[in-house]
């Protein structure tokens, strides 16, 4: 089953995706790597940061890999390039 989530893009990922946020439909259960692939399929230029990015799901960091992610309608997913605050 699919569900609608809000995806936020920051910093370089926003420049590559060409937008700051969008609502997309994705499977309710998938791995973090598969979730990333959904985003990369929509915005192929995101592949440039694939090796140096993590996601945040409901404001918690998730690295790309085999971790299972469960999503519900309205959940917030963010693309987090390397941090540079401070």
């Amino acid at each position: 089953m699919n569900t609608e989530v809000l995806v936020l893009y920051f910093a370089k990922s926003a420049e590559l995706a060409g937008l700051k946020s969008e609502t997309i439909s994705v499977p309710e259960e998938l791995t973090s790597q598969q979730l990333w692939q959904e985003l990369e399929n929509r915005h192929p230029r995101l592949s440039a940061v694939r090796e140096q990015v993590v996601l945040a799901v409901r404001q918690e960091y998730v690295v790309l890999g085999n971790q299972r992610v469960s999503l519900r309608a309205g959940d917030e997913v963010a693309v987090i390039p390397p941090l540079s605050g401070g």
Binding site: L8, F10, A11, K12, E51, Q52, V53, V54, A56, Q59, Y61, V63, A78, I80, P81, P82, L83, S84, G85, G86
Partner: protein, 157 residues
């Protein structure tokens, strides 16, 4: 002996306004504390030979606040006498020599707040979702990467 002391305060502000050292230090003052330690991060005018004209910051604001609260919890576990903790981070355009971040921490004695400030800025750079773009005189720009960030530089370390 804490007459007049407030409960321990966690003070977080992400703002497009200019930061003030006095404003940050005032928020952490307390009558039972003898020490306020502070760190102010400012915009440098150069990076690897390129002249920087300004920085531009953006944040994932609600998550930045929740990550800062986690850091504050860690600080209170490690330095139990730390009293108030304040982080002011500026967003948007920050001209050269202006402050992008101010950390201020109070404690009864100075060692704890000095150590906690160093820890806080390290942890902020490693885990708080804020980004800066350096804009050069040549009109190009670069998204920076903190060396403290575990997923910077290509592989999770």
């Amino acid at each position: 002996m804490n007459d007049g002391d407030r409960d321990a305060q966690d003070l977080i502000k992400l703002t497009y306004d200019k930061l003030s050292a006095d404003a940050a230090s005032d928020t952490v003052l307390c009558p039972s504390c003898g020490a306020v330690s502070m760190f102010i991060g400012t915009t440098r005018n150069n990076f690897e030979g390129k002249k920087v004209v300004q920085l531009e910051y953006e944040a994932y604001i609600p998550m930045a606040e929740s990550q800062l609260k986690k850091i504050f919890c860690d600080i209170r576990e490690r330095w139990s006498t730390v009293r108030h903790i304040c982080v002011h981070h500026r967003l948007g355009v920050v001209p050269v020599t202006e402050a992008s971040v101010i950390v201020a921490i109070s404690s009864p004695h100075r060692v704890q707040s000095l150590e906690a400030v160093a820890y806080c800025i390290d942890a902020l750079k490693a885990s708080v979702p804020i980004w800066k773009k350096e804009v050069y005189e040549t009109e190009d720009s670069t998204w920076k990467e903190n060396k403290e960030c575990l997923w910077a530089g290509g592989t999770l370390k």
